[in-house]
Amino acid sequence: MANWVKVHPLVVRITHWINALAILVMVASGWRIYNASPLFESFTFPEALTLGGWLAGALQWHFAAMWLLALNGVVYVVYGIVSGHFRRKLLPISPGAVLRDVSQALRGRLAHEDLSVYNAAQRAAYVVLILALVVLILSGLAIWKPVQLQELAALMGGYEGARLLHFFAMSLVVLIVVVHVVMVALVPRTFPTMITGRLRRSS
């Protein structure tokens, strides 16, 4: 019998792929909504990369997929805390280790000995991604309900402040996702593990 190592728990794999779909729909429809009235006058997203066809279609996608993103996110975060997954996999994070691993990754020298253990660069990226998504959802709620949730909006400088924050949180999420996908492409054996959850031990 082959020697298998468990890399990702089932809940993490399921919520990962639902999250990937939800983020794809939210970002593509969000870009179409952005284009209806660009925050930065000289910048719009290419229509071919957007979802919804026109503003109303994009809004329908955005306000449907928000439930998928939020409910899936709640399942993931509750699981991560209750099961100890966050504590085991994402902690501890030391700034020194993060800097070392990021610089090694940039020079193509970062080793991936054991895929079940995240290196410091991964831990930092995943924690920042989770926090950015929380900010993205909260700023989105503030934009959606600037009167009913005006206390939340006020924390972000009101409606227009929440719009800016929503844009920058989106930008950070997209940046991390792009880096993440590039890293998976560079270390392709990580890809099937997010589906099967396990990896054949090489030695």
Binding site: L51, Q60, F63, G108, E160, P188
Partner: protein, 247 residues
């Protein structure tokens, strides 16, 4: 093996695998995005999206607090010039003739006598400086004055237990709102903008100013108000914008 170069650790097979992954990943991504338009117009997808929009109407109805006031701003924060917006360009703004104008009332309203402008102007009025938020995302702060819509509905004997208030407009626009929002203290039948009689582009002779709803739910050039129990929809709402569209 520690700190070994990636290139050392990947034989040719893996580099091939990597290229395949990139290629497949890119084509799947491009395909799904190009298909975005067709996905949206697919009938079953459209049904799901409209179902979700109706679910969001209900959620927004629950979230709506009839006592929660929209933030008000000092007059120094008013956006000047205040933007025009409509389903037609500014050059096509309708000019409503003041002398012929009558506000018609219908549906579940006891006193359906039409109102002339001087009679409406004689009603007690209030002002507000609030943020107008467009469905497109932009916002602008303006000052509106007029009759509290809840006072007006009571005065004409509207059935306040009915579900909807509908509006027909002089520019062929139409819209409708929930009764809870109609009775909100900041919902105004507005006759003035920035202390001046509403100019045509801002909805002469009156618009319904609702700071708890998106701009397109604030109908201009109102000619008829009716109270009903079946949702009358609206110009943009019937084209796919969320009906409740509350702030």
């Amino acid at each position: 093996m520690k700190n070994a170069r990636l290139s050392d650790r990947f034989p040719k097979v893996q580099s091939l695998e990597r290229r395949m992954f990139l290629k497949q990943g890119l084509s799947i991504g491009a395909l799904s995005l190009l298909a975005g338009c067709e996905v949206t117009s697919d009938e079953r997808v459209q049904q799901v999206l409209e179902g979700m929009s109706q679910w969001n109407d209900r959620v927004q109805g629950w979230l709506f607090d009839p006592k929660k006031l929209a933030p008000e701003f000092p007059e120094s924060m008013i956006t000047r010039p205040f933007p025009f917006n409509g389903y037609y360009p500014e050059s096509d703004v309708r000019i409503i003739d003041e002398t012929d104008y009558k506000l018609q009332l219908g549906g579940l309203i006891k006193e359906q006598k039409p109102w002339r402008l001087p009679e409406l102007y004689a009603l007690p009025q209030v002002s507000q400086v609030t943020r107008h938020i467009c469905v497109e995302g932009w916002s602008a702060i303006g000052k509106w004055s007029g009759v509290r819509f809840s006072d007006f509905l009571q005065r004409v004997g509207a059935d306040l237990t009915a579900k909807y208030v509908g509006f027909n407009c002089g520019d062929d626009y139409y819209s409708s709102i929930d009764m809870a929002t109609a009775l909100h203290p900041q919902t105004l039948l507005a006759f003035r903008f920035a202390d001046q009689i509403l100019p045509p582009k801002f909805g002469f002779p009156m618009k319904l100013r609702i700071p708890t709803k998106l701009g397109f739910k604030n109908p201009k050039h109102i000619t008829e108000i009716f109270v009903v129990n079946d949702n009358p929809g609206g110009y943009w709402e019937d084209k796919g914008y969320n009906w409740f569209s509350g702030n």
